[in-house]
């Protein structure tokens, strides 16, 4: 029995070290990924100091991550201060899907952002939505990092 418990401990230690190495390798390079959602800032621009203009998505998904919701709450705070400004939310997809499905996916992503901003008191009349599907990548690369940077929704000033 004692022997068995020892084995279990060893197993946990081994697992933990594997996980650590995995993290270390993922943080190398120019950007960072969590799952396949981009968490870096390489392509990010700012609406105002500390207010990121974009959020990123997992492949084929339009759900907002914790980090995305944090970014959008800051966007909403900025929008509340700038009452005269209108915004366009541009939804994008990566190049690894069919064109028409990606147009719909980009629209779904942009609307996920719009809905979240509205729950923080931003009127829907100030927010327009446009999907570009896979037509406007920010990173030309054909690799997982580039695709993660392209799966995004960008909030831009519209007036």
């Amino acid at each position: 029995m004692v022997f068995g418990i020892d084995l279990k401990k060893i197993f946990i230690v081994v697992l933990a070290s594997v996980a650590l190495t995995a993290c270390a390798t993922q943080k190398k390079g120019t950007g960072q990924l969590q799952g396949d959602v981009y968490t870096g800032t390489d392509t990010v621009e700012y609406l105002a100091t500390g207010v990121k203009d974009r959020v990123f998505f997992a492949t084929n998904k339009s759900t907002l991550t914790t980090a995305s919701r944090d970014t959008l709450r800051k966007q909403a705070a900025f929008m509340r201060k700038k009452k005269d400004l209108k915004f366009a939310i541009e939804g994008h997809a990566d190049e690894r899907g069919t064109r028409e499905y990606n147009l719909a996916l980009g629209e779904r992503r942009a609307n996920a952002v719009k809905d979240y901003l509205m729950t923080y008191g931003i009127s829907g009349s100030r927010l327009s939505v446009i999907s570009y599907g896979k037509e406007r990548p920010v990173n030309s690369g054909s690799n997982p990092l580039a695709w993660s940077q392209n799966r995004r929704s960008v909030t831009v000033k519209a007036n």
Partner: protein, 447 residues
């Protein structure tokens, strides 16, 4: 686009089908293409040169025979023999071939012809000969304006193809596509139209706004496509004869993925609202809009069956992209794809017996076909990225586009048009002046 004035003077079909010895087996791939000799068409003395787009075309008889040869070679079903092995002169061969000479170079079929050009008229006569049985199979004459010489070559190709395969041809057709220039992050896209063999390219938009997914009406003069005009992505209708464009319907949101109904009277498309895409139709004459699907998932890429009774489409209602079939009123929705991977861009064959699709599995893209009930899946080609198959009007060839991998500077990227035979053989690049995508094949221009 100039209207083709065409008259068929005479139509003699001498031998009955049962008598013909030369037949092309179209059920297999291009394992054994039929050796065919296309003699240069003989020019009647006194004929003039053809002036076209500021250029002078000498010896149009030879040019016509070359266009026919390229069509035949690209079909994969014929092997046009080299002209330098031809012994008999074109004018004499057209009157009466010395079959033993043609048999010597292993030709099984022979095409001969005669061209007469005056200032405003081109008359082309051709004969198809069965070399093995030593008899004439078809003889026809076309009369048109001189600048239509390429179309005459395509029509001759269609007549010969039909006589030898028993299937309708697809050479007198055009392809509409999106011509692409610029870097990957700043791409300029224009609508372009060309003959099926890549000749006569014309650009239909200026590239000021993003345009995507043009599709021909089965009636040919109309095209429906997606334009980002004024940054509002909407489905448009374009008359390629007059250049007149108009937006389809009055939707407060993105409309996309348009196609015509088989009778050309409706446009079926997706309308995205509040993050949800559903399928709608609009009747062109009455402008009546109908909602066909009503589901919280993405429903897109609709395509009618040729009898108009069914619609196949793409939906992620099961969680990921799959292909579904329903009745044209939206009832009886049934999922048909259950294989591994994602399925998109279903397009119903003009013959009705197959649906072509794009499949994504383990980071690879496939073009494939299956029966409308989802059985008999066959993958025709595998690549890094390819999608959007479109059928030739006879349902034998698929045209699609393929993109290549690139680095973060965009180096290595290209988008090209390709075609492949239904059998999975005869994959070919279709050369275009610029990069190209989203090809759509017209129906036959003349029937």
């Amino acid at each position: 686009m100039k209207k083709l004035i065409l008259s068929i003077f005479c139509l003699f079909i001498f031998s009955s089908t049962s008598m013909a010895l030369v037949e092309v087996d179209i059920t297999r791939g291009n394992i054994d293409p039929l050796p065919i000799a296309v003699s240069p068409l003989y020019i009647e003395p006194g004929s003039k040169d053809i002036k076209q787009d500021g250029k002078i075309i000498k010896n149009v008889g030879e040019r016509i025979s070359e266009v026919i040869e390229v069509n035949f070679k690209r079909s994969g079903l014929f092997n046009p023999l080299k002209k330098d092995s031809f012994v008999q002169k074109p004018d004499i061969a057209h009157v009466k071939p010395r079959f033993e000479d043609w048999r010597l170079i292993k030709a099984q079929a022979l095409v001969t012809g005669k061209v007469t050009v005056s200032d405003d008229k081109l008359r082309v006569e051709f004969r198809l000969w069965d070399v093995v049985a030593a008899k004439e199979m078809v003889a026809l004459a076309f009369s048109t304006t001189p600048e239509n010489w390429r179309r005459v070559a395509h029509m001759i190709s269609d007549k010969i193809y039909q006589r030898l395969t028993g299937e309708e041809g697809y050479f007198d057709t055009r392809i509409i596509y999106v011509a692409e220039t610029g870097s990957k992050t700043q791409r300029f896209k224009k609508l372009a139209i060309m003959d099926q063999d890549g000749a006569n390219v014309k650009y239909l938009t200026l590239g000021n706004e993003l345009v995507l997914t043009p599709r021909f009406s089965p009636k040919n003069q109309l095209v429906t496509y997606l334009s980002y005009f004024r940054n509002l992505p909407r489905v448009y209708l374009l008359d390629i004869e007059t250049g007149v464009q108009e937006v389809v319907g009055d939707f407060a949101g993105m409309t996309f993925a348009p196609r015509f109904s088989p009778d050309g009277e409706k446009i079926i498309m997706s309308f995205a609202k509040d993050g949800n895409s559903d399928i709608y139709t609009m009747t062109l004459k009455t402008r009546v809009v109908e909602k066909i699907t009503d589901h919280t998932s993405i429903d897109t890429s609709p395509s009618y069956s040729p009898d108009g009774k069914y619609i196949c489409f793409n939906s992620d209602r099961s969680g990921l992209q799959q292909i579904y079939v329903m009745r044209s009123d939206g009832s009886g929705v049934k999922r048909i794809t259950f294989g591994k991977g994602l399925y998109g861009t279903p397009v119903w064959s003009p013959r009705g017996d197959l649906i072509a699709f794009t499949k994504v599995h383990k980071g690879k893209f496939y073009i494939g076909v299956m029966r409308p009930d989802g059985s008999g899946e066959r993958l025709l080609t595998e690549n890094f990225y390819q999608e959007a198959p479109s059928w030739s009007p006879n349902g034998r060839v698929l045209i699609f586009y393929r993109e290549t991998k690139s680095d973060s500077e965009g180096k290595g990227f290209s988008a090209k048009l390709w075609s492949i035979d239904l059998t999975g053989y005869n994959e070919r690049l279709i050369k275009t002046e610029t990069d190209g995508s989203d090809p759509s094949w017209s129906s036959l221009l003349s029937k």
